[in-house]
Symmetry: C2
Subunit: 233 residues, 2 copies
DNA sequence: CCCAATTTATGCTTAAAATCATGTTTTAGA
DNA sequence: TCTAAAACATGATTTTAAGCATAAATTGGG
């Protein structure tokens, strides 16, 4: 696979900006154990059961993190955007991955070697404490998500997913179009419903004037109404 | 409320045993900022929205951690047993509690002052890294839980909850009776279903010879069958 | 010990969402 | 550009679980 012109230096700086209280020597250590690679849309970055080789970071593109469910039905756990870490849970828990990561667009993925990172963390308590805070925050998201995915009805879950996507990726320049283009199946897997129901409910939202649909392009016409639907459950 | 004869020293040692790589000076610091109190069955230890004052530890009794759901329906997120921490997610995330904790039996709760603990963590990277691992592991449980609660059917969810309770609290001396006595409503809130359905499904398991029921006493007659039901979804 | 309140139990009805079926549109590759 | 595959759309049907009603059993407090 060709080197699709990755700006390693820029990626490196982006990744480092995610760390707090990183000492010069530690930064140099990371630089020397830092690799980048290019993933085409649809390619798998890691799979459930794989062993983490290091701390994975997305510096360009979009990635979905998903778990295979009971009847082969996937559940999307998280959506990543640049610059951000993925797969760190398994790394810090010292476990294999319990979810898979797939590029939704052409993406650049960088990896900091596992051993080197852990060495740094053992020396830098402040940095470790900061990461602990991030993971604790994410555990909160996960707990909230469990409740909404189990207790809200289909309309509420889909509305919440759309709001979540807007919060994560923002709008296009028109201020209305959500800046991510998911298949109906992905949207369903994010919202814990069948593809049929995602399609149906999107159509309903469109008829109600909440959304305007054009293929995978989703334009939010009435944010308040969407939020109300999400809150109602 | 009377001092129900709390053995503070014993509780203190129990709590300290949960920390790894704790230095003598740090231990002394904790001892001087360590309080214990007694909670009767049913009493609330903290509520959703409260601000954590420190690291809470259960040294005696049983506690449920639950979130209020959409229609006032609670979702039990976690069951705690001694000796173990509760409410640490909010503390480390520097947030208010997103769930409430209630004693299921008479319990002893100890608290390590927040400021003191964070001081220790800032100095002790190894300890912080160890806590990071625990929180990352729990995030994994939470993610798995999200999938099973959303994708498994009622029978599978209830069976899984029963297995989970056995894993957490173990069996009585007879080797069959799960060592925790929950109301049908709590069992339902743990398994994401209505109380009616928890009752109905328990009865079904009993008729199928998987369980033997006697009030809140649940005797597991056929572990394999229970596991099979859980795995089927 | 007794009574009210709560919990448990069970049947029936309704609502929600999955499944199935069919057809159309879009996309990717030869 | 054509074709096959994939994705999207919509209606009908079935399954699942919630909701509701009623009654029995259990529990806790006076």
């Amino acid at each position: 696979m060709a080197q699709h012109n990755i700006d390693v230096q820029n990626s490196f700086e982006g990744v480092c900006s995610l760390f707090h209280n990183l000492q010069p020597g530690e930064k140099e250590l990371i630089r020397r154990n830092f690799t980048c690679s290019y993933y085409r849309k649809g390619e798998i970055i890691y799979k459930e059961g794989d062993k983490p080789s290091g701390l994975v970071c997305l510096t360009k593109g979009k990635v979905k993190i998903f778990k295979e469910g009971v009847g082969g039905r996937d559940q999307i756990m998280r959506m990543a955007k640049p610059v951000g870490f993925i797969g760190y849970r398994a790394l810090f828990a010292d476990e294999n991955y319990i979810a898979s990561a797939q590029a939704l667009e052409d993406s650049v993925i960088c990896v900091i070697d596992r051993t080197v990172l852990l060495e740094i963390l053992k020396m830098n308590a402040e940095l470790t404490l900061h990461i602990l805070r991030s993971v604790a925050t994410e555990l909160g998201f996960s707990n909230n998500r469990t409740v909404t995915l189990t207790q809200k009805h289909i309309r509420g879950r889909l509305a919440e997913s759309l709001i979540f996507l807007r919060d994560t990726y923002g709008f296009e320049d028109d201020g209305q179009t959500i800046k991510v283009y998911l298949s109906r199946e992905d949207l369903a897997n994010l919202s814990n419903m069948t593809t049929s129901n995602a399609i149906r409910t999107l159509s309903a939202f469109s008829e109600e004037g909440v959304l305007e649909l054009d293929g995978r392009r989703i334009k939010v016409l009435d944010v308040h109404k969407l939020e109300r639907i999400s809150d109602l459950g």
